[in-house]
């Protein structure tokens, strides 16, 4: 500890200049005096700068308390600067994660006390670092924080793609908020799982409670969300109707009729909803249809999966989409699509389906907008292209697919296979076959030796990957809210590089694609490699190489 005199002197002449780094470097030591002098000066300055103490007025320090059991630092009064981006509240008390506390100590903002004595930075390193906080984790955290980013421990998937699209991610439900809370996610999952088991055993009280809760939540959501009115009502009303049919008599407490009325009002839309938003209903999944659990065994659409390996609690869906057959409107089976009435009545209560089978005429709904001028021009150009023999096939076909088929048939019929016998005789053959050289794109495709792996399709119902990112990083933003941070600007996985051991390797393609599929958003994933104090960031992202294809 420095004496008062030294502290005073430091405070007086507080220099903010940073010592010069780099500059012009020499290539070889030439033993000259001036070189030696420069090096000596550098070391002197370096020693002085490194030895400077961290001084602050007593009232400007935030007072923190470390407890070994919780491995957290508790603070009573937050400072002016950092509480917006760091720390969390639990049971009305304010806490900081150990890496946040260590960072704030190095920033000369927080003073941590333990056993009535103040902690030094070395002491903090000794106490904070451990199985919950590795050195690499802290170094990456500090590195990003020093650059100015807002860094939070990874909170899992907060909103599905659908929720983001309809703007529901702005309104995080209380339970999800709790789940996202770093402290509860580890401490309370066990408790939750016991609760769930009890519910799944079909206690009616639970069901009714949950239904009421669901209505309340549904009510909130309806009040809260602006654009999603119809869709939300749709989903909730379907559920309501469904529950009405199956839970006959058991529930007098079907809840406030007010909410039910509002559902009924929009039920006119629900039939359209079903037809139009066929694809959108499937992502209306775990997150929106909340803790609504049917204990009814007759309900075949009960989804049993509500928990996954990592302990994150997902609300189970009342619908089992594997058993519900949605009609395929995109099928290429002509203009009229037959829709069968499904066994499980999915239409809302008072809507009665009389027909067993309904003919949906696609042509009646097809977009009959006139062709744009651009397309017409392009077609015209093709019409007068060089190959005269194609003219007839062009005239005979009604659309592009037919024309292509025509062309292919013409080619395979007219092309003489024996044009280049010497090329195709041996085992070593050209990659491009003349008869298949229909367009530039076709040629390029045949020339492609390295097959690009296709990015796996995104699936919002995917299980969380085995390896989750460690941090969610946000750009500095005045509007940042700890309780509702939104989608991060990028996510970081921390990896320790030990060159003599191979047990830790960078995330492989499967992990990266799993993460990409699971999170279902365009947030890049960075891999932070830490080796002996130096942090390096690498990004591994999917992109498709563009193929230049011109008309021809």
């Amino acid at each position: 500890m420095h004496s008062a005199d030294e502290l005073f002197r430091v405070r007086q002449g507080l220099e903010k200049s940073v010592p010069q780094k780099g500059g012009v470097k020499d290539f070889m030591p030439d033993g000259s005096w001036i070189q030696g002098k420069q090096i000596e000066k550098f070391h002197e300055e370096r020693e002085k700068v490194l030895a400077e103490p961290r001084v602050q007025k007593k009232c400007d320090y935030v007072h923190g308390l470390w407890t070994n059991e919780s491995r957290l630092v508790e603070i009573e009064h937050e400072g002016k600067s950092f509480w917006k981006n760091m720390g969390f509240t639990r049971n009305g008390r304010k806490f900081l994660h150990p890496e946040e506390a260590l960072f704030l100590m190095e920033m000369n903002v927080l003073q941590v006390w333990y056993n009535f004595l103040p902690m030094s930075i070395e002491g903090a390193y000794c106490r904070f670092l451990g199985p919950t906080l590795t050195l690499e984790f802290h170094q990456v955290y500090a590195h990003l924080r020093r650059m100015g980013y807002v860094v939070i421990r990874h909170r899992g998937k907060l909103a599905s793609r659908y929720e983001r699209e309809i703007g529901l991610d702005k309104y995080q439900k209380k339970k999800e908020r709790q789940l996202g809370d770093p402290m509860t996610s580890s401490l309370l999952t066990k408790k939750n799982s016991i609760e769930e088991l009890a519910q799944m055993e079909g206690l009616e009280n639970c069901v009714t409670d949950k239904m009421c809760e669901h209505e309340k939540v549904a009510g909130e959501e309806i009040v809260a969300s602006e654009n999603s009115q119809i869709k939300m009502d749709c989903a909730a009303s379907i559920e309501k109707a469904h529950s009405q049919e199956t839970e006959i008599g058991g529930n007098e407490e079907m809840g406030s009729s007010l909410i039910l009325q509002s559902h009924m009002n929009s039920i006119k839309d629900s039939a359209e909803c079903l037809n139009d938003n066929v694809t959108s209903l499937s992502p209306v999944d775990d997150n929106i249809l909340t803790t609504f659990k049917h204990s009814d065994a007759t309900n075949s659409a009960f989804s049993s999966e509500s928990r996954n390996a990592s302990g994150f609690q997902y609300k189970s869906s009342a619908w089992d989409f594997r058993k519900i057959a949605f009609p395929n409107f995109g099928a290429e089976c002509g203009d009229v699509i037959k829709i069968q009435r499904s066994e499980s009545n999915l239409t809302p209560g008072h809507v009665v389906c009389e027909l067993d089978c309904y003919d949906f005429n696609r042509m009646a709904h097809i977009n009959k907008k006139k062709d744009k001028k651009k397309d017409l021009e392009r077609d015209r150009k093709l019409k007068f292209s060089n190959n005269n023999s194609r003219f007839s096939s062009y005239q005979n076909s009604r659309n592009w697919s037919e024309y292509k088929v025509c062309l292919y048939n013409w080619r395979s019929n007219n092309w003489r296979q024996d044009q280049f016998p010497h090329l195709f005789a041996d085992g070593l053959q050209p990659l491009v076959r003349p008869e298949l050289a229909t367009s530039t794109e076709a040629i390029l495709q045949q020339l492609q030796v390295i097959k690009s792996s296709t990015k796996p399709p995104r699936n919002s119902k995917a299980d969380p990957p085995a390896v989750l990112p460690h941090f969610d990083v946000y750009s500095p933003n005045k509007k940042f809210k700890k309780t509702n941070p939104g989608t991060p600007d990028f996510r970081v996985i921390v990896m320790r590089l030990i060159q003599t051991r191979c047990d830790e390797s960078p995330p492989d393609l499967k992990t990266i694609s799993d993460i990409d599929v699971y999170f279902d958003d365009d947030v890049p994933l960075h891999c932070a490699v830490v080796d002996a104090g130096t942090v390096m960031f690498n990004t591994l992202s999917f992109f498709t190489l563009p193929t230049e294809v011109s008309l021809g």
């Binding site: 008062a4 940073v18 370096r46 490194l50 103490p53 030094s120 390193y125 060159q499 003599t500 002996a532």
Partner: protein
């Protein structure tokens, strides 16, 4: 501190080695050619990543070298049981510091007042004249000589508020307080596996030859070798350690060659042969044209 004994104190925290003293860090670099990596924030400019501060993190090879040469010792900090005595001692220290700060503060203010005394007097005069002006405007007859009257003031006349205890200066110390922690010597067991042994052999040999060596992960190798202090010179070699009998694929050679060319450094493939001698092979990519 053990530095008085002439040995550098290396603290082992969570499997990594740190040096917490700037004098020792300088000694390591200037005299012993051990560079290490700074990994803390710099107190005077904490929100940047180019210049970092203590602690200095050492590579395991560096630690083994220092131990072999008898120039350092690896310790672990064990916490003493905090007694009431210690708490009292700390409180006393704080009180003492506060008293001293009050003295220093008062003295500093006095010096400042002494320096600025003419300005203070001028200020007071202007204020008094303003008041007299007001009175004149209100109808009172005041003699002009009143305006010219000098004000007699000494340093003692100016009041100095006492430094509040809340405003006293405190510090977050860097290293552990020796009165409350006991360092305990720790057995250092690096290197163990074959790869580690090879790395250390190469490190030691290159260090003996006079190079400055740092971690090579920035350039995709095991070490980076500088002819002189890294602050002053560019590095010349990227050292890659390979077992002598290991085969290197064509792609690996091209990778290394290309990398070295792009950063203007020579790749040095280092290994230990059957006669337990170190052999180095440098790689140069000449390109196609």
């Amino acid at each position: 501190m053990s530095f008085d004994r002439g040995k550098t104190t290396i603290t082992l925290i969570n499997g990594q080695c740190f040096v917490w003293n700037s004098k020792q860090a300088r000694f390591l670099r200037e005299e012993l050619r051990i560079v290490g990596t700074l990994c803390g924030s710099l107190p005077r400019a904490p929100m940047q990543n180019t210049h970092l501060g203590l602690p200095l993190q050492l590579m395991p090879e560096e630690v083994t070298l220092l131990l072999e040469k008898g120039l350092a010792e690896v310790v672990e900090n064990t916490e003493d049981v905090i007694t009431e005595e210690m708490k009292l001692e700390y409180k006393n220290k704080e009180k003492k510091s506060y008293k001293r700060q009050v003295e220093l503060y008062t003295r500093e203010r006095q010096e400042e007042i002494k320096r600025k005394l003419p300005q203070i007097i001028a200020g007071k005069k202007a204020k008094r004249n303003k008041v007299l002006d007001e009175r004149r405007k209100n109808g009172e007859i005041i003699d002009d000589s009143e305006f010219e009257k000098e004000i007699e003031m000494t340093v003692e006349d100016v009041g100095i508020p006492t430094l509040q205890e809340a405003s006293m200066l405190m510090e977050i110390p860097l290293a552990c307080d020796p009165s409350t922690t006991t360092p305990v010597l720790v057995k250092w067991t690096y290197p163990k596996s074959d790869k580690e042994v090879l790395r250390y052999r190469v490190f030691r040999d290159l260090w003996d030859k006079g190079h400055y060596l740092t971690s090579g992960s920035k350039f995709g190798g095991d070490f980076i070798a500088y002819p002189g202090d890294p602050s002053r010179f560019h590095s010349l070699f990227i050292v890659v350690c390979k077992p002598h009998s290991a085969s290197i694929s064509g792609i690996e050679l091209i990778t290394m060659g290309r990398l070295g060319t792009n950063v203007k450094k020579t790749i040095v493939l280092s290994s230990v042969d059957e006669n337990d001698k170190l052999c180095y092979t440098s790689l140069q990519w000449t390109g196609i044209s």
